[in-house]
């Protein structure tokens, strides 16, 4: 028998990388996390060729406000124009390519390039070129690049560099229900992403973030130190014997995946780390007024989603989280607390403190996840590993609409992610940037 191991490394064929071979039904090649060629291809097909989450309208509430974001490796700006419209522009001057906005966020009347003074409107139009005598072009053709597709769903702004990415509606699919569930935590259906961001750098491939964030199997192991020192909603939801775990992994389709802890919640506001809702009567009253008694208490019991919207948004319960790749071996997980409109301040303060407890470099949870991802990146470095994703395939329930429900410890969510990944990566459409 030959001892030569078959190396499943991503390799360039005439037509590109063979994703059908690298992503099989119940296992994937480790090279997908470590290959530079795969990473470059992901930038083109996922980050430039498809829809990505950019930001929330509440981050740029007033005309002139902007925030910096990065799509793949391209710096962009989410901007509220003078007319109050939302736009997404490349943060790059059309003259000789300098970066326009240096601050992470700000408020401006227009964008002036520091290099040679070209001035652009908030909508990207070129307004002024100093010493115009030497300027030989039509200014209309030298505006900032506006992304060809920009759309939003209930304040969540998405965009694509590719005009062929289809509709946001099609991309989101069941993801819209997840966003609806996040919004309904507010009696006024308003969220405010105004508390700023913490950015956690992890020396691991970006895909470990969406995969880990809806992985229910690791909770009992990676987070056992958390379970020992804090009484939390995760005790019943993920830190119990296999038979008694009622939480679910859900593949909603299109790569959108959820860890649904709600079937194990015992009382209302378990998602706020409480055993009932007596702490915040004013919030409960506002919810009852907004939704009626029954629905209000249903929402307060079920809580917010814990779900990834492919490829770069995580509705992390009372947090909004974004994934940013930084080359093949590094990534950044951004998070901000999901502050609610129409609730007493103390509810939002609790959400803030809960956010710091769960997410970020020093958090009770994510610090451990981060280190686990870094170890995985090192172990996968040689590119010759196969990762098993078969867990629970035979016991998952497939609904008539194609939605798959699995046991909380099963890899239903991972398979959902990779299924979509393969679909996107085997597409030929090239983005026009």
């Amino acid at each position: 028998m030959s001892m030569t191991a078959q190396r499943p490394e991503a390799r360039s064929k005439a037509d590109g990388i063979d994703y059908e071979e690298l992503i099989q039904k119940d296992r994937i090649s480790g090279s997908l996390y470590t290959s530079e060629a795969v990473y470059r291809d992901e930038l083109e097909k996922i980050f430039y060729g498809g829809w990505v989450y950019i930001g929330h309208e509440s981050e740029v509430a007033k005309p002139g406000q902007y925030v910096r974001r990065t799509i793949g490796e391209v710096p962009v700006l989410l901007v509220r124009t003078r007319e109050g419209k939302i736009t997404v522009l490349k943060n790059r001057c059309t003259h000789r390519g300098n970066m326009l906005c240096v601050q992470q966020k700000g408020s401006l009347k227009n964008f002036t390039c520091a290099y040679h003074g070209w001035v652009f409107g908030l909508d990207g139009k070129l307004l002024d070129v100093p010493y115009p005598g030497g300027f030989r072009h039509d200014p209309a053709e030298y505006g900032l690049k506006v992304l060809p597709l920009i759309d939003s769903y209930r304040g969540f702004v998405f965009a694509s560099f590719s005009p062929d990415a289809g509709s946001l509606d099609d991309h989101l699919g069941n993801g819209k229900l997840l966003i609806d569930r996040a919004l309904q935590m507010s009696p006024t259906q308003e969220i405010k992403l105004t508390a700023g961001w913490v950015r956690h750098k992890i020396r691991g491939n970006w895909k470990m973030l969406p995969e880990n964030d809806t992985d229910g199997y690791h909770v009992n192991f990676v987070h056992s130190s958390f379970g020992r020192v804090i009484r939390s909603q995760y005790d019943e939801a993920a830190l119990a014997p296999e038979e008694s775990l009622k939480s679910l992994t859900i593949d909603w389709g299109n790569g959108h995946t959820e860890l649904d802890f709600s079937p194990s919640y015992v009382g209302e506001m378990a998602w706020l780390g409480l055993s009932d809702s007596s702490r915040y009567p004013e919030y409960v009253r506002a919810m009852e007024e907004a939704y009626g008694h029954e629905k209000a208490h249903e929402i307060l019991a079920k809580g917010p989603p814990h779900a990834v919207i492919f490829p770069n948004l995580f509705l992390g319960e009372m947090n909004i989280v974004m994934f940013e790749p930084l080359g093949v071996n590094e990534c950044v997980q951004w998070h901000t607390p999901l502050l609610l409109g129409g609730v007493p301040d103390e509810v939002n303060i609790r959400i803030l403190r809960q956010s710091e407890g769960a997410l970020g470099p020093s958090a009770f949870l994510l610090a451990d996840d981060g280190v686990i991802s870094e170890r995985q990146q090192i172990a996968l470095r040689s590119g010759d590993a196969w990762l098993d994703l078969s867990r629970g395939e035979e016991r998952e329930e497939v609904r008539a609409d194609g939605v798959r429900l699995g046991h909380v410890t099963d890899e239903t969510t991972n398979r959902g992610f990779w299924h979509q990944y393969r679909k996107v990566m085997t597409r030929n459409a090239a983005a026009t940037r």
């Binding site: 956690h200 930084l326 803030l352 403190r353 710091e356 020093s362 981060g370």
Partner: protein, 171 residues
Amino acid sequence: MQLVTVEEQRRIEAFLYKEARFADQSRYEDWENLVDEDMYYWIPTDDPEADPERTVSITADNRKRLATRIAQLKTGKRHAQLPVSPMRRLVSNIEIEKMAAPKQQGTEEYLVHANFVVYELQVQSTRMLDVWPGGVEYRLRQYPDGEIKMYYKKIMLVEAGEPILTAAFIL
């Protein structure tokens, strides 16, 4: 605010160096013994003046949460510090003032500003040497029996507004 005597300065500096040493050595119990009951352990993001009731911080621990943080480190299952990071920190540029009106009656309280650099070896995963520079504001309390406790530590990382690496150790 008043200047302090040479004697007071020595005592406070000795306290700060001890606090730094316990943190470097991950001596959690010894470090926690330096902390008072009204402790606030705070690592803001890039705006150190931001209101933590409206702005997310990297860490914003009251005494209870700090106790939980230390208990978690002591479980032996805190992967992010398994094994603990070898660390060395330098504390410098120490400026001490005495508070005119102490928060706690009958004690002397001091406001201290300093700079620090922590060199940390990330032995849990990448085995890379990470450098954590910053400024720090301490508020210290000396009881009539001479014991000093820390009741406030605000760590202002130079990189607080940037993507930062996992930091599960005591900063």
